[in-house]
């Protein structure tokens, strides 16, 4: 495993994508940045004077052999890896908010951005960006965001989290590349935020309705149980969960 540590970069995903386009890079090459320059204030004022409090990393993963139809399973594998990594670090009340946010209680503590490269209708590589709020304690105007420290009351080492996430990524990508789709889906659905709980949603027109999250389809649509025992599938753009 090849780990590249940077002091400052605008986006670890962009950096890794450009690196992978310029030369052949090892599977599981990792880029971590102490500072993301996007975090700077306007007019050149510097806000992040301390060492970075959050983990921002990108991982290069060779995904040749994964069927393009199984695209969403990449999202499932990464969500599970982050979930299980945080669980092993004793972060409590974790869940996966469809499609790939990681929550503790009902606050977002980690986000995932996956960029795939497709050529000749086949998946080639995935650039997996993972951001985890670790030791940040102030989230002004972000009522639905939190951090590991806020949720568990202790300080975390960024490197420890990074290594744990990487180990879990290796584990779940092995499942994916062994075509263990049902195992992956079952685990993902088990940890879904608000699964089997009465929930309120908003549709594209802004109208509200209620239902129960039951699971996801192979392509990643959310399956919601509505009135009259009807299960309907929703695309990401068709539905917003209110919580």
């Amino acid at each position: 495993m090849h780990i590249i540590k940077l002091n400052a970069i605008d986006s670890t995903n962009t950096y890794l994508r450009q690196l992978s386009a310029s030369k052949a890079i090892e599977d599981f090459t990792v880029v971590v940045a102490k500072h993301q320059t996007k975090g700077r204030g306007q007019m050149g004022t510097q806000w992040n004077v301390q060492d970075a409090k959050n983990l921002t990393m990108s991982v290069f993963k060779d995904i040749t052999g994964v069927d393009v139809e199984r695209n969403f399973y990449i999202s499932i594998a990464v969500s599970l890896a982050v979930f299980e990594a945080l669980k092993s670090l004793n972060v409590e009340k974790l869940s996966i908010k469809w499609p790939n946010d990681i929550l503790s209680e009902n606050k977002k503590i980690a986000g995932i951005l996956i960029e795939n490269v497709i050529k000749q209708n086949r998946l080639q590589a995935s650039i997996i960006g993972i951001g985890i709020n670790v030791n940040q304690t102030e989230f002004e105007n972000l009522p639905k965001a939190s951090s590991l420290q806020l949720m568990s009351g202790r300080f975390f080492e960024l490197d420890e989290i990074m290594i744990t996430v990487l180990q879990k990524l290796e584990y779940f990508f092995e499942l994916l590349q062994n075509n263990s789709f049902s195992t992956l889906k079952a685990q993902y659905e088990e940890h879904l935020f608000r699964k089997n709980k009465p929930s309120t949603f908003k549709d594209m027109e802004g109208d509200m309705f209620s239902g129960y999250i039951k699971g996801v389809s192979n392509s990643g649509n959310l399956q919601v149980l509505l009135e009259d025992e009807i299960i309907k599938e929703f695309d990401l753009k068709e539905i917003t969960l209110l919580y």
Partner: protein
């Protein structure tokens, strides 16, 4: 069968991923072989059948007609378009021409592209899929508007291959 139809047939076979197609019609017998891991080049053997030969069975001719009719290149069948290659969407999703809203488009009409260049991003379930070109050439047409939904196999670009 004229040269144009044969050309279309070759393109279709090359795109379909089939390694070999044999066709027999009234006056002609065609074998198209594609290399296993090439970039769409096709070897074609056209064999003229002697006129005296009895016409071959009907089903073969019907099949051939269907193949030609469903040729994916140039739905309008205009002579101009048939030399172009259509790049299609490998997945269902939302088509984006830019890497992010404040960035320039990946390609536009007239852009020269080479194999491996990123043409667009198709987003599905928050997965951002960069679509790389399989061919080199020039963009002739962009067939889908930015930020609109696309279906599997929907034509996205028309490329004049070089």
């Amino acid at each position: 069968m004229d040269i144009k139809e044969i050309q279309n047939l070759i393109k279709f076979v090359a795109k379909s991923g089939a390694s070999e197609v044999k066709l027999e019609m009234d006056d002609i017998k065609i074998t198209i072989k594609t290399g296993s891991d090439d970039k769409g080049e096709a070897t074609t053997i056209v064999q003229q059948i002697p006129m005296a030969q009895t016409p071959v069975a009907q089903p073969a001719a019907v099949a051939a007609a269907e193949v030609v009719a469903s040729t994916p290149v140039a739905p309008a069948a205009s002579n101009e378009d048939s030399k172009y290659v259509t790049i299609k969407s490998p997945i269902i999703g939302t088509f984006y021409r830019k890497p992010s809203p404040d960035k320039p488009v990946f390609v536009e009409v007239g852009s020269t592209i080479k194999e491996g260049d990123v043409l667009c991003v198709i987003e599905a379930m928050k997965l951002f899929n960069e679509i790389e070109s399989e061919i080199s050439g020039k963009i002739v047409k962009v067939l889908v508007d930015d930020a609109s939904p696309v279906e599997f196999d929907q034509p996205l670009f028309l490329v004049d291959p070089s």
